[in-house]
């Protein structure tokens, strides 16, 4: 545009440019302002509940809400109390935190193991009727987890797994593996079958192909699937609440809910626990965001 104008005689250029350029510049400025406003709005929208958690945790007076927008006298004593397990509802906080980690890591490892074995068999070995398994995985993936909760709890009593972390691990692995199979299946298409064939010609057994070729090449997808399973187990609440009742088997999520059942209401302690409990997922999110987003871009659709 500017080149064309420069070539034209200066007088006409000025006449031609004036009416067209000004609205365009104004429109560009307007769209920039609108984008900035939208951005500010989104920032407030996203951070308001997070800020509310901080506001409540930093309030030194436990029982009364202050009704102010800023913490009147910010006070980190509630975090210190949680750290030192100073209150009867959080006597076993670190033990319960360890339980949550145990639950998340066990779910992650089992999901990656079971999911990668199944997807190897389904997509690399071309089993007849293998699609049946894929379809069942897809169905499980679509199913809302809360709808299975009541029969699941009954069945865990039948299996004599009630009040055991492994009951929750079983539930979480059940709901995470279908996603793992679908994602790994999708990612596996990028790895040429010729590699498997070459290894077979060299005399490798399917187990060796799985261990030496499939797993190393699938590493990025395995990380995505593992992170997904870990966050699912960490962030899920219903099954932990229903399946874990004794204090020693409880996870942090169940412990937080105990505050609602108690007569006293030290909400600042509860929010301090909630913030500490949110730190691992935040750290994982900011550290491994690339893998999580890549997992979605591969086609996986699940929250």
């Amino acid at each position: 545009m500017s080149i064309a104008l420069a070539a034209a005689p200066p007088a006409t250029a000025a006449v031609a440019a004036r009416p067209s350029r000004r609205p365009r510049r104004r429109r560009r400025l307007l769209s920039k302002v609108l984008a900035a406003l939208l951005g500010a709005g989104l920032l407030i929208w996203t951070l308001l509940p997070v800020y509310n958690m901080l506001l409540m945790a930093l309030d030194s007076d436990a029982d009364e809400f202050t009704g102010s927008i800023f913490p009147p006298d910010p006070d980190f004593s509630s975090f210190a109390s949680v750290w030192n397990e100073d209150y009867w509802l959080m006597q076993h906080f670190w033990h319960q935190f360890a339980n949550s980690i145990y639950l998340g890591v066990a779910t992650m490892l089992l999901t990656v193991l079971i999911g990668s074995l199944a997807s190897f068999a389904l997509s690399r070995m071309r089993l007849r009727r293998g699609w049946l398994v894929t379809d069942f995985a897809l169905l499980t993936y679509v199913l809302p987890t809360a709808f299975l909760a009541i029969p699941f709890v009954h069945i865990m009593h039948q299996y004599r797994m009630a009040d055991s972390i492994w009951a929750v691990v079983a539930a979480m692995v059940t709901f995470a593996t279908p996603y793992a199979i679908l994602i790994l299946h999708q990612y596996g298409k990028l790895i040429p079958m010729e590699l498997d064939e070459a290894a077979k010609v060299d005399g490798a057994s399917p187990l060796q192909v799985y261990l030496r070729i499939y797993l190393p090449l699938m590493a990025p997808a395995l990380v995505a699937v593992g992170v997904y399973a870990l966050l699912l187990a960490w962030n899920e609440y219903l099954y932990q609440y229903l399946l874990l009742s004794s204090t020693s088997h409880m996870t942090v999520a169940v412990a937080i809910n105990q505050f609602f059942d108690s007569d006293e209401a030290p909400w600042n302690y509860m929010m301090a626990i909630a913030i500490i409990y949110s730190l691992p997922p935040i750290a994982i999110y900011f550290g491994l965001r690339r893998f999580m987003v890549a997992g979605l871009a591969m086609g996986g659709v699940k929250g």
Binding site: V50, A146, M298
Partner: protein, 305 residues
Amino acid sequence: MGSTQQVLGFRQSATAGESQRPPWQIRLQGSDTTWAIAFLVPYVAVFAAFVAYPVVFGLWMGSDPALYGLLFSDPRYLLIAANTLLFVAIGVNVQMFLAFLLSGFFMDRSWWVRSLLAVFLLPWALPGLVVFTSIHFMLVTQWGLLDSLWRAVTGSDGPLFLVHAWSAMAANIVAYIWKWLPFWTLIFLAARMSIPQDIYDAAEIDGASGHRRLLYVTFPLLANIYLICTLLSSVWTLGDFPTVYFVSSGAPARLTDVLATYGFHEAFDFGYPNLGVAAMMSALPLMIPLIILLMRRVRATGVQL
């Protein structure tokens, strides 16, 4: 049944396409089949023990017709069914539409939009228990954060959100959108990024720009994934538990429960597990068509979930 055959039909045509590969890739040798089955055993065992058996057990629990008579005679049940429909219809559609628009905003790759995206996705990674509890406390009394903000701006006391059923239900829906909007925005963003730039260039030459580009180029290309995401989100929202359980907790007077929380209370607070299962199963007449539609759509278009 008809849909199953439909599904089978697509599957068969897919394998027919693959059979053009050299035969050694398809036929497994005897020992390889054993290996493949061995690799599948863990997943099949998990599926049988923790999906198939609970599903069958649940169907058996909710199989007594008398349960449904009992359910429909509860005057609250109709209200709860209506709440669930409202929650799904408004929550899912508003969320999808906003996600679609916002994904366009996040296509901008300038540094501040990219950092904003990183912050915007945070609700997706946070535990539902934690954020919904926080939102509950923002609304619950006149000393909550939202009311404090209201007072700071207008000088008068704010509305009590959880005192009226309508505003409490609206709070549930808004909280649900807050939690899941980032996730769907990301899905649409990925879909938008996979649209080749040439298409936009061609459209520009043909004179499509601005809102026309959105309406006639982007939207038709994303229509399919938009539909699939809407169906999927509807199924999940139909069974959503934590939002209502924590944000309104059914307040006021259990008027804002949805099927999942109603079933939960019937089963675990009042000790009628079969009635709880029946309440959730009463969503099946809506859920099964949604799932069938979804599966057919996924098969027909080859979109990977």
